[in-house]
């Protein structure tokens, strides 16, 4: 088999699903007008698939902070965190996140993906064991592979299955990492964290919670699921990203284990890639301040999320298990999902199309993500488009897992 032959299957699937050559996965956003509006092709669209949970990408405070940082410090750091890429702003952001999470060690990475690789891929080694939820994000799977540890997958949100696996490990739990997410990115459901913590307390192990989709979304202060579930002090490592509720790009690790500071010397994704640009750090700091100062953003977000979930449910759509800012609609075949996605775009609504294996359980889905910046009228517009497209689903192709 020649080098490129491995793409043959992809090429034929792509040709079959997108015969006109226009793939939803190559969407080009020509202009962005606001956190909720943009132009795609010739069409003005409502953005309902962005992870822009608090709608802060155009917040004047963030834009101004980014401007000032560019003028003062230039466009890029041109170096790694370990060399010339740690400015005052990077350390200040770490201190502010430390204050927010009440953690004495916070490390900023260039993306959330790299934070995951930097923690899990470095801390766990070939002698160690990782227990991960089956629905964990690809960044976590990749981090596990990088670690070389024994990787054991447990059924999604199934604490009894996790417990059985911890039992099987017997005395080996002191070198075991358990990895879960705050809100799962595809179906929008959250981990049963209090129960997971109880099991960890009983059997041992260290717990990582990736709060990528729950930072600014859950908890009284927006710290995430660990706060909402009241178990923040028993979570060993919090992973997070600046690319969703904070409206920028970058990631972090927060921990109260003082040893995690050694990751600055041991973690290759910290050492061998350039640090976030000064403007990115500055807008992130401003966004974190807004997240803390304006709990009403979280209230708006949840009002919108609940409105969308309830209305789509009333239309008879099969959704993820609970209302959340990620609202996933489960569809049938790949062809049906693609047609549905295209129909939404023709109605002026952009959402995310997710096909297996990226979607769990063999489902195909369109994934809406709600923003605090959506107006109730915009949520109604989204629902109206879903109502108009119900005919697509009446074809004999009911939602069911594909091929497994």
């Amino acid at each position: 088999m020649a080098l490129f032959d491995k793409f043959n299957k992809l090429a034929s699937e792509r040709a079959e699903l997108f015969p006109t050559g226009l793939s939803p996965f190559e969407t080009r956003i020509e202009e962005v007008y606001s956190p909720t509006e943009a132009r795609i092709g010739g069409r003005r669209v409502l953005l309902a698939g962005t992870n822009n949970y608090l709608g802060l990408t155009f917040a004047p405070e963030c834009i101004e902070a980014a401007h000032k940082a560019i003028e003062r410090e230039g466009t890029g750091t041109t170096g790694s965190r370990m060399a010339n890429g740690s400015y005052g702003g990077h350390y200040a952001l770490e201190a502010e996140l430390g204050d927010f999470y009440r953690c004495n060690s916070v490390i900023v990475f260039s993306t959330g993906y790299l934070a995951s690789l930097g923690l899990i891929g470095t801390l766990a080694g070939v002698q160690d064991i990782i227990l991960l939820d089956a629905d964990c994000h690809a960044s976590i799977y990749d981090a596990c592979r990088l670690s070389g540890a024994q990787i054991i997958r447990f059924r999604h949100n199934d604490v009894a299955d996790l417990e059985k696996r911890l039992q099987r490990l017997k005395e080996h739990t002191d070198n075991t990492l358990i990895v879960v997410e705050g809100i799962y990115s595809m179906l929008g459901d959250r981990a049963p964290l209090a129960e997971i913590v109880a099991v960890k307390r009983h059997y041992g192990g260290y717990l990582v919670v990736d709060e990528a989709h729950s930072l600014g979304v859950l908890g009284e202060h927006g710290r995430g699921l660990s706060e909402e579930a009241g178990v923040a002090t028993e979570v060993d490592f919090v992973l997070g990203t600046f690319s969703k509720s904070l409206g920028a790009v970058g990631g972090f690790l927060a921990s109260n284990h003082p040893e995690s500071e050694f990751l600055r010397y041991a973690s290759r994704p910290y050492i061998f890639t350039a640090s976030p640009s000064p403007s990115v750090i500055a807008s992130t700091r401003a966004a974190l301040q807004l997240l803390r100062d304006r709990p009403q953003l979280r209230e708006r977000l949840w009002a919108n999320a609940t409105q969308l979930y309830r209305q789509l449910q009333a239309l008879g759509y099969q959704l993820g298990p609970e209302p959340s800012p990620v609202v996933a609609t489960l569809l049938g075949s790949r062809q049906q999902a693609v047609a549905f996605w295209q129909g939404l775009l023709e109605h002026g609504i952009y959402v995310n199309l997710v096909l297996p294996p990226a979607a769990p359980g063999g489902y195909t889905l369109v994934r809406c993500s709600v923003s605090a910046a959506h107006t109730p009228a915009q949520i109604d517009t989204i629902c109206q488009a879903f109502a108009d497209l119900q005919a697509i689903l009446e074809q004999p192709d009911a939602p069911k897992p594909q091929g497994g």
């Binding site: 997958r153 299955d161 490990l169 063999g362 091929g403």
Partner: protein
């Protein structure tokens, strides 16, 4: 290897419901290129098999598991290791 045959038969009971139309399953059927599973199907199959045999199979082993026979051998070894 007396147990091997029984393990294989139990694996077949998990695999058969996943079989594409008209596909027969042999010890040496390639689960991905012939049987048509994708990498996530294989991991999900593993969850069922793990429950059935009351073991955890590290995903690291999947790199060397292409056929029912490979999987049955891996399970045999894990059961023996206790």
């Amino acid at each position: 290897m007396a147990e091997y045959r029984q393990i294989l038969d139990r694996l077949y009971t998990h695999l058969r419901p996943m079989a594409p139309q008209g596909m027969t399953l042999e010890e040496d059927t390639d689960l991905i290129s012939e049987f048509g599973l994708d990498s996530v199907n294989v991991m999900d199959l593993l969850l069922e098999v793990e429950e059935d045999f009351d073991i955890s199979v590290p995903l690291n082993l999947l790199a060397d598991i292409r056929t029912p026979k490979d999987l049955a051998c891996a399970i045999t070894r894990l059961l023996e290791a206790g």
